[in-house]
């Protein structure tokens, strides 16, 4: 037995080992009626059956998975998809042949696309094609995958992926496929390792029994030699141990090797991020982004709907502090009807607190909703993009006015403490001059404004480095200002979750870090290794 080692592109991280299930196209046979009218009716019924089936599936899922299936329903519900098939049926072709050739032509169009995102839709159209064919023949063509197996094939459809049980391990190895495909998105969400673009199989007609999939490096080994398999098993065991340790430590307080207690807070972008999370894993919420409330398609949110969302988050925290950031629109986050179009440099334009102060009628609604929510827990409010103390003062005066107005109306409310994001060098350099109740360092913007380099511009991305001494000096300066004024300083940018930076960040004197929920275990494990 000779092992076959193939290298492709990593599409979903992780390691997996298991028996190989090869996806084969099942061709169901069907007896044509020979009558164009009846063939057309059969196709129509099959398409409707497929739509009903997918719609039932949608009711059981949510988020990305639902989006993927809704796309399939929209395509199936569009007469333009079956147009060619009905034309062919009218001139005597059987329904299944007509549908298959019409859809194959559609698929060819996607396969020829220059853009990878459109090429990745091939798997969706194949899925649509096969589901309708299954309805035409009355036979299910979805290959049954045993949990824990390595699925090998040319490509895999979302339906096939969703029909398998991924809780028992397993992985995907594809000769074609794309990291941009819907299945790759699903695999990342379910934690199934996936490698694509492995090229034509070199099995010489013999199906491999066992495979090792490395979704981190994009390699797959079929029928490994005993020593290869042993090494891989050791890597899986090490990865499992590391993950188990991080997960077990999630609910423990974060303490450095030399005994310093570090507060670990959560960054969230919507209340849904808190679903299934135990408040015990954190010391509070360090950043609630509120941009999600302002999606233009839904119009600007009214006071009551904002209040309801803020209240829900505070109630989840059960008395732990929650820091909500006022609207941070503009820059790379445009909101129709609110932000300014066509600024020559949006990152240096009307964004964050500048926009809120320029649109007081929108800002006041948010301040009122926050003051009302403040009675339901420990709420702190933070202002983004502050550069000058006068901005904080103006916002503070507006908050005072809204709080007073609510009280006068006899509405339950409290005035939350008002702090600032430190993300503009001007704020870091003279943090002491701001009468803020707390400072929260936004390391993403602080880094890009200090280094004058955006992280999404590849040619200068190297310069966008939070561990640059200039950025660390501004962070240390802010920590010092907080200590002098006796107010809390935290850091809530991506740097907080980058465990390579944990040591230099804690060296600045920071004692509070705020990260995405998924990074909590990892960060706490990294903190435990730090000694000054």
């Amino acid at each position: 037995m000779t092992e076959i080692c193939l290298t492709g592109r990593a599409a979903s991280p992780g390691l997996a080992m298991g028996p190989v299930t090869v996806l084969t196209a099942t061709v169901a046979s069907r007896k044509a009626t020979g009558d164009p009218a009846r063939e057309a009716d059969a196709l129509k019924a099959a398409i409707e059956g497929a739509i009903t089936e997918i719609s039932e599936l949608i009711a059981t899922v949510q988020g990305e998975v639902a989006d993927i299936l809704e796309f399939q329903v929209a395509m199936l519900g569009d007469d333009a998809l079956a147009e060619g098939a009905y034309d062919a049926i009218a001139v005597g072709l059987a329904a299944d042949h007509a549908w298959r050739s019409a859809l194959d032509a559609e698929i060819a169009g996607y396969r020829a696309a220059e853009d990878e995102y459109f090429r990745a839709r091939v798997a969706d159209i194949v899925d649509i094609r096969d589901r309708v064919l299954a309805h035409l023949s009355g036979v299910s063509t979805v290959t049954k995958i045993t949990g824990g197996s390595i699925v090998a094939g040319d490509d895999i459809s979302p339906s096939t992926f969703l029909a398998a049980d991924w809780t028992r391990g397993g992985a995907i190895a594809l000769a074609a496929g794309s990291p941009s495909s819907h299945v790759a998105m699903l695999a990342r969400a379910r934690g199934a390792p996936m490698v694509v673009g492995l090229g034509a199989w070199l099995w010489n007609g013999r199906t491999p029994a066992l495979a090792l999939v490395d979704g981190d490096t994009g390699t797959v080994i079929f029928d490994p030699e005993p020593e290869t398999r042993l090494l891989f098993e050791q890597r899986i065991a090490a990865a499992n141990t590391a993950r188990a340790a991080a997960d077990a430590g999630r609910a423990e307080p974060a303490i450095t090797a030399d005994g310093r207690r570090i507060a670990v807070l959560l960054n969230i972008a919507a209340p849904e991020d808190l679903a299934d999370l135990d408040p015990a894993i954190c010391d509070g919420i360090g950043l609630v982004r509120t941009e999600f409330l302002f999606e233009a398609s839904q119009g600007l949110p009214d006071e009551d709907s904002q209040y309801a969302v803020y209240r829900r988050i505070l109630e989840w925290a059960k008395g732990k502090p929650v820091t909500i950031r006022t609207l941070d629109a503009g820059g790379d986050k445009p909101i129709a009807g609110l932000t300014i179009d066509g600024e020559s440099n949006p990152f240096l334009g009307l964004r964050g607190i500048r926009l809120s102060l320029a649109r007081p009628e929108v800002f006041r609604v948010q301040l009122r909703a926050l003051s009302r929510a403040a009675v339901h827990g420990v709420l702190k409010v933070m202002l983004p993009m502050i550069a000058d103390p006068s901005e904080l003062d103006r916002a503070g005066a507006m908050l005072d006015a809204e709080f007073a107005a609510l009280k006068a109306e006899g509405i339950a409310c409290a005035r939350p403490p008002l702090g600032i994001m430190v993300e503009v060098p001007a704020a870091a350099l003279r943090a002491e001059a701001f009468g803020a109740a707390f400072y929260s360092i936004g390391s993403n913007d602080l880094t890009q404004y200090t280094m004058a380099a955006a992280r999404d511009i590849g040619a200068v991305a190297d310069l966008n480095d939070t561990s640059n001494p200039a950025v660390l000096a501004l962070i240390a300066r802010t920590v010092e200002a907080g200590a002098k004024r006796g107010v809390e300083v935290s850091l809530c940018g991506d740097a907080a979750g980058d465990t390579r930076l944990t040591t230099p960040l804690l060296a600045t004197g920071l004692t509070t870090l705020s990260v995405a929920p998924v990074a909590v275990g990892r960060l706490k494990a990294a903190i435990a290794m730090v000694s000054s």
């Binding site: 989006d67 395509m75 569009d78 007469d79 559609e106 233009a296 398609s297 445009p334």
Partner: protein, 104 residues
């Protein structure tokens, strides 16, 4: 970023035109196409889109046809709208594109 260079006429027979740049990360792919066609179907007006100012024009109410356009990020999307609620339809289309279909 968008500009309404339309001849803002009240006559329904004269089409309104405008353009907007696709700002969402992956262009007019699956989810944006669904959103765009769903929005378009909410109007009585005939709504068409194209990658060039002079067409070829595609029915903005058909997800299959909109996907065939394969409009990438950064492409300028031209709209041509005819009908009594054309002005509202055009505004809604531009807002959707400008908003990055809620993906930005």
């Amino acid at each position: 970023m968008h500009d309404v260079n339309a001849s803002r006429t009240t006559e329904a027979s004269v089409p309104l035109t405008a353009s907007a740049v696709l700002v969402n990360p992956v262009g007019l792919h699956a989810r944006p196409s669904v959103k765009l066609t769903q929005c378009a179907k909410g109007f009585a007006a005939k709504i068409e889109l194209a990658l060039m100012a002079d067409g070829p024009w595609t029915d903005a109410k058909s997800p299959v046809k909109v996907m065939r356009v394969k409009a990438p990020q950064g492409a300028t999307l031209y709209f041509r709208v005819t009908g009594s609620d054309g002005e509202a339809a055009l505004t809604a289309m531009l807002a959707l594109v400008h908003d990055g279909f809620g993906e930005v």
